[in-house]
Amino acid sequence: MSRKKTTLSVLIGALLTGVLSSSNAYSQSDQEHGPGAGHPPSPENSAENAAIQARLGDTSTLMGTIAIPESVESCGEQPGVTRLLCLIDLLKTSVSDDVLALMQLDYSVAEAKKWSNLPAGAFPSRPGVFLGELKVEQRGVVKAILMEATGLKENEGFDELLQTLNADDYIGTVSDDYKAGYSSFNSKLAFLGTPSKTGVWELYYGGHHLALSNTYKDGELIGATPSFRGIEPFHAFEMNSRTNIPMLQERDTFAALLNSLTPAQLEEAKLEGTYRDILAGPQADDAIPEQQEGMSVEKLSDTQKVLLLKAIATYVEDLNAADAKKYMDKYRSQLSETVIGYSGTTDLNSEDDYVRVDGPSLWIEFSLQSNKSTNEKGNHPHSVWRDKTDDYGGQQE
């Protein structure tokens, strides 16, 4: 009995020692590693961060089930930029001056570049109004706006956006990281530049694991990227009365392509190095290598090319059908100058697995990394679609 007690106390002691010593180390290191000790100034203590923390909410916006108000009917049913602008006007005229000041901002590429994969609490610089700061009817108009700008296929476009919101509501039920702001309340909407049929403006929508940046000029979409998607949990999960699987299609189509490659093709497509995340993520607009790496798409069979186009479509079809067709036509016409590369396993189900498509215009990355927010074992994807020629609408300032 005494040996039992001794062993038990030793085990508990070991656990406590480990936990306490590590937490002591954390707090001490936090203090020591200020500017000058090889670390940058911490944004976590900034006034901007404090202001955002005060605005964060933890209630679900239920974007999937809220109704689109009847007032939207005044914008007609003909899809396109005219309807999109009408819907935006409807929203802008319904909000208070304070909300409008958050939502309607001047256009600049610098502002457009303030997107992130991080949750709202960890990236306070996102412009815009939180979805949760809008009234239910106003959120119904936002729903109509996003449905107009994005694709309506299952698990892509608007449905993907909804499921990403549901993921944050899900994480909110399992995470104790309250400062992160895991909730669909905390995705932001902004108009950079005044939406109009003349001039440049961007529809900015973003939150944890999501960045939509549609740039319009003179009544036309001139850029649909950077378009970032990520999801945790990656597996199917139940939230807000539905099953959510927003990014399994991206993984499955890429895995189908990689698993179709012959050993010789795999050897050629294998990239040097390890990829623990995507390269051209947030605040890494310069990260796309100047030289292509991997295997030319010309070496793919026709069947394999179809698989590749299916994978590309899981990104491009996040746009409405008309705009998606323009991009798919462009990328199809550039296939012979496009390369594919991968690192890790071809099933794309393990940490550090990575696949990339690199064309004259097209850049897509899909990367798997270990879970962060759910505390579940396993991995989750980060993925980005960029267009080298019209990222941020090709704007420079």
């Binding site: 180390a25 500017p35 670390h39 949750p119 623990r276 390269l279 310069d286």
Partner: protein
């Protein structure tokens, strides 16, 4: 019942194995708080010291360093908040010298390792992780101000391609961000980053 069975198995193990398992348990209790989600990049802080010396402080996640340089895996056994022993510091320095250099004007600076230690640091969205902080010193920078400094750096990123580096210049209480870059090569060689204008602001 389960406890009794555990105790029986525990008692049958020899002392060495028990000590080993105990150490593993201790390690697990620390590492379970570490998150392997893509870790931060390198942070390089340059500062002018007395007598024309230049201090170069670099920190990066230990986990990523070991992936990039498996020969430095032994660093994982070093206690946190303890100075790295001279032999290991030399080994670390050799790796760094192979993946970075600094120029003052056109003259290559001799970067002498001063000290290094591993700390457990906290990042709000990444959790806790072990970070290696190393201090290098260029004893005599040939140029007086205005400076002309350049840096070539592909530490870790030569293997972990998403790893990036942020460079800061510290002057008194003021810290200026000089650069933020990722892995990039021109004609097979890492890009050289020039900081002249920002240093002399």
């Amino acid at each position: 019942m389960i406890f009794n069975r555990f105790m029986f198995v525990w008692a049958t193990l020899n002392k060495t194995i028990r000590v080993g398992l105990f150490a593993l348990l201790c390690l697990f209790s620390i590492s379970s708080t570490v998150n392997a989600h893509a870790l931060p990049g390198s942070v390089i802080t340059l500062s002018e010291q007395q007598y024309g010396a230049l201090k170069v402080e670099i920190s990066f996640p230990l986990e990523d360093l070991i992936i990039a340089a498996p020969e430095l895996e032994v660093l994982a056994k070093v206690d946190v908040e303890q100075k790295i022993p001279p032999k290991l510091l030399k080994q670390l320095s050799q790796y760094l010298q192979a993946h970075m250099f600094m120029l003052s004007g056109t003259e290559k600076l001799k970067l002498l390792p001063q000290q290094a230690e591993i700390d457990v640091v906290y990042n709000q969205h990444l959790g806790h992780f072990r970070s290696l902080a190393v201090e290098l010193l260029a004893e005599k920078v040939p140029q007086e101000p205005p400076f002309s400094l350049s840096l070539s750096y592909d530490v870790i990123m030569h293997e972990i391609r998403n790893h990036r580096a942020e460079v800061y210049w510290k002057k008194g209480n003021k810290t200026i961000k000089l650069s933020n870059f990722g892995f990039k090569k021109v004609e097979g060689k890492p890009v050289i980053h020039h900081f002249t204008n920002d240093l002399n602001r």
